[in-house]
């Protein structure tokens, strides 16, 4: 059985004290232990930002790549070895800003992997500029007179892009978060979890208390997760009451399911020393 200590590394995370990333890391480790996935069969992929450093602090295979490009990397890892449990972690800037194009295409591609976004509605590592999820009017270093645009709605966007598992959780509620991640991994399709992650250094509006006063669990409210229209309606709720939990969950064939090339053997395990192209050459005579 996999234990929490199997996932520990000696180095301590250098996130700010009180950062919700700690909660996300604990929930992630807890989920891997609960699901009993061997650490060597986990690939933890990230881009750039505070959240991008997470793979350095969990003892699984990891790839800490460049800003906004984690999803293509993760996609190819899954296609190359579909026996691996592939996680992608990243921030709102990484996933909804610079990486938005990949976000939409990954949702519609539907590989069996899990994408967790640490959404703090601010750029933390670059010391406090506006993010795609910052609310209209918020003053930041790059928007001293207030944000002019309306924020991206990641839940609605994921649903409309064809995602088959769309959930939201809260970094201040590790139990809920672990439960949500476990459900996401068990879902045999692409799973997307947007996580409210209070930034204690640069976001003094969306604090732990701010969320605690507003969030409620969709699963406690009897939400029908198979109804796309209802899921979309729930995604529009914002203000005094903000839903967390699973918005939408349906199964459909994964991208890998449609590839006979990897049906029996993952690509990485296919021998390459006896490939015969003589027939191919004949085709060109």
């Amino acid at each position: 059985m996999v234990k929490m200590t199997d996932l520990n590394v000696i180095e301590r995370p250098n996130w700010c004290p009180g950062c919700a990333n700690f909660g996300i890391l604990i929930a992630l480790k807890g989920a891997i232990v609960e699901l009993n996935i061997e650490p060597e069969n986990v690939a933890m992929i990230s881009g750039i930002g505070c959240s991008g450093k997470l793979p350095h602090w969990i003892r699984t295979y990891g790839l800490h790549g460049i800003h906004g490009r984690s999803l293509p990397v993760a996609t190819a890892i899954k296609l190359s070895n579909n026996g691996l449990a592939v996680f992608t972690v990243g921030g709102d800037g990484d996933g909804y800003g610079i990486g938005m194009c990949h976000f939409i295409h990954t949702m519609r591609r539907n590989l069996d992997m899990t994408y967790i976004v640490h959404n703090n509605m601010i750029y933390g590592l670059t010391t406090g500029q506006t993010s795609p999820t910052s609310e209209k009017g918020v003053r930041t270093k790059s928007t001293p007179s207030g944000v002019i645009e309306v924020p991206v709605n990641p839940i609605a966007l994921a649903i409309s892009s064809g995602a088959t598992f769309v959930a939201r959780s809260f970094g201040g509620d590790v139990k809920h978060l672990q439960k949500t991640i476990v459900a996401a991994v068990k879902h045999r399709c692409l799973s997307f979890v947007d996580v409210f992650q209070p930034c204690v250094s640069f976001n003094n509006i969306n604090t732990y208390d701010w969320y605690k006063q507003r969030v409620y669990d969709l699963q406690d409210a009897g939400h029908d997760t198979t109804d796309k229209i209802k899921a979309f309606t729930k995604s529009q709720e914002w203000g005094e009451h903000i839903p967390i939990g699973i918005f939408y969950e349906v199964l459909s064939p994964t991208y890998e399911d449609e590839l006979p090339q990897i049906k029996d053997t993952p690509l990485v395990k296919q021998p390459i020393d006896k490939i015969d192209i003589s027939g191919l050459m004949d085709d060109f005579v």
Binding site: P39, I66, I77, V268, D273
Partner: protein
């Protein structure tokens, strides 16, 4: 009478099946042992515009297109007006008799073969699109070639489309053939004859790159369509189920290179391909692969820039870009095939270098090589053996403690550290785009930074020692030495024949490895040559600049062409002769 030495050309609007007709002609030639080399010109649009394909045929191996056309099929009047000056004396024009041609516009020594395409098509009851087959058949009659071979090629090419299509195509070609035989004298000066030798493959550089990649065990190809690299994507996709390859048409080139990196990291041989504009988007990923030490192969097929430039034409303007793309210093091997054969072997070598030295490798091609067909003998598929580099062995893994990451970036003498891939117990590590220590932990310490930069750099030194040195081809006491890289190889080889015939002694140094650059050898050659020229398809003479940077030496003359068209042997002949005569 000239036998087995001619250039056949077909021109018309895009969408008229010009390329397909040209391929049937080329295959009909090679099936009887003749050699072909073709060159296509087409604008960046789907319907209309002017397209043309030129096929040179001889009974010896040929390496490029030449000037002078012997027979042209003009599917519209524009083709005649655009290309009439390319016709040699005694050449023939096959065209639609309903076009009004002013005889004053055509030289006296050109023969006209008007054919009532529409009447013929109506008579035999086939679709209007078969006009090009009628014309093809007519050209076969004119050069007095064996129609049976053409018939067989048509049958093979349309096998999948069924008997009706085969029958219509064959009847159309036969009708054109008969029309010439029945209405004109058999006195055309240029003829083709069967050689009785076995057939060869007809391949483009891109075809050869794909065959090389498949033979090398490439299992993952990700790309976004971009001329002239798109046909690699098409080829790989068409073969993905036959050879168990996952081919992904991605949302953009950024995704393509990052996917290749993901596959390379997981232990799969991975490749991406693009042209200059797409490679601009890939540059950040290129550096990522260098930093993570992930093996990938990048096919960079050049076309004229800057920006969108001339999308369907050729240039060698990205040499410096390929050598310097992405921030910082990291090993950037760049391999430059000069012809179809080298495209096959060097692509395989690129995979070996990528895995042995754990770094991205660029194969630098261009439209001229990527899309021109050449008769090619079957490849020796055992010549390049697969070398997957160093993986961590059982002892390495056993020695790795459970509480830390595996030393994936261990400092070693040659800079190469034993690899692990996901799934390997005790091989766990995180690859970081930040500077990192041996275990992949982010580090900004002075000593780690210096050691890690030096470790990565040592890989390039190790690679440089292993690579073949370029060889001087031709007499050692030559009057002049040509130095060049890439697809200029073909026209240079042809130009050398022309120069030798004129008594000019010439030799040729082909740069195959642009990086690591064979500085010593090039310096030695320049030092001992009587005169040196570079031949390059770009504006500034990028190769000459690189030679200067790496050797401190100047060449005597830069022979440059940057109009989007490849060099013709005749142009190199004239330019080189001028340097020999006048300096």
């Amino acid at each position: 009478m000239v036998i087995n030495r001619l250039t056949w050309k077909i021109g018309g609007k895009a969408g008229e099946g010009i390329m397909a007709t040209g391929m049937i002609f080329s295959q009909s030639c090679t099936r009887s042992g003749l050699y072909v080399y073709d060159i296509s010109e087409y604008p960046s649009l789907i319907k209309g515009g002017h397209n043309n394909l030129q096929v040179r045929v001889e009974d010896r191996e040929i390496f490029s297109q030449v000037k002078g056309v012997n027979i042209i099929i003009a599917l519209n009047k524009e083709t005649i007006l655009l290309h009439k000056d390319e016709l040699v004396n005694g050449a023939g024009i096959i065209y639609d008799s309903s076009e009004v041609i002013d005889p004053k516009e055509i030289r006296d020594n050109i023969r006209l073969y008007p054919i009532p395409f529409n009447n013929i098509i109506k008579e035999i009851g086939v679709q209007g699109i078969m006009k090009n087959n009628v014309a093809l058949g007519a050209s076969i009659a004119l050069i007095d070639y064996d129609f049976g071979i053409v018939e067989k090629v048509i049958r093979d090419n349309f096998k999948r489309k069924g008997d009706k299509i085969i029958d219509e195509n064959t009847r159309a070609a036969r009708a054109g053939y008969d029309y010439i035989k029945n209405n004109f004298k058999n006195d055309f000066e240029y003829k083709l004859e069967k050689t009785g030798k076995p057939g060869r493959m007809i391949l483009t550089g891109n075809d050869a790159i794909c065959m090389g990649a498949i033979n090398a065990g490439c299992k993952f190809y990700a790309a976004y369509p971009m001329t002239p690299a798109s046909s690699i994507l098409h080829f790989m996709a068409a073969q993905e189920r036959r050879f168990n390859i996952v081919v992904k048409h991605t949302e953009d080139e950024i995704s393509a290179i990052n996917m290749a990196i993901g596959a390379g990291f997981t232990g799969v041989r991975a490749m991406t391909g693009t042209s200059g504009g797409g490679f601009c988007l890939m540059t950040e990923g290129y550096g990522l692969a260098g930093m993570l030490e992930v093996p990938i192969v990048i096919i960079l097929s050049m076309r004229p820039g800057p920006s969108t430039g001339m999308p369907t034409w050729s240039e060698q303007g990205d040499l410096k870009f390929a050598l310097n793309a992405s921030q910082g210093d990291f090993p950037r091997p760049v391999l430059v095939p000069g012809d179809v054969e080298e495209s096959f072997y060097l692509t395989q070598e690129a995979f070996n270098i990528a895995e042995k030295y754990q770094t991205p490798v660029i194969v630098l091609s261009d439209k001229n090589l990527a899309e021109s067909h050449k008769s090619t003998d079957k490849f020796d598929t055992k010549k390049v053996t697969i070398d997957r580099g160093i993986y961590a062995d059982a002892a390495d893994l056993a020695a790795s403690p459970d509480t830390t990451f595996f030393k994936r970036y261990k400092y070693t003498e040659n800079g190469v550290s034993p690899r692990t891939i996901p799934g390997m117990k005790k091989g766990i590590y995180t690859a970081a785009s930040d500077e990192h220590d041996e275990e992949g932990n982010i580090r900004e310490d002075i000593d780690v930074r210096i050691k890690m930069m030096q470790k990565r750099a040592r890989k390039m030194d190790s690679l440089a020692k292993e690579l073949r040195q370029p060889e001087l081809v031709g007499p050692h006491d030559a009057d002049i030495t040509i130095i060049a890289a890439g697809s200029t190889k073909g026209p240079i080889k042809e130009a050398m024949i022309l120069l030798e015939n004129e008594g000019v002694k010439v030799n040729y140094l082909q740069i195959v490895y642009l990086n690591p650059f064979p500085s010593e050898k090039v310096a030695k050659v320049i030092g001992s040559a009587k005169k040196t020229v570079v031949v390059e398809n770009n504006f500034s003479g990028q190769l000459a600049d690189i030679i200067k940077e790496k050797t401190g030496k100047d060449v005597d003359k830069r022979i440059l062409k940057y109009d989007g068209r490849p060099f013709y042997p005749e142009e190199i002949f004239t330019a080189v002769k001028e340097v020999v005569t006048h300096g």
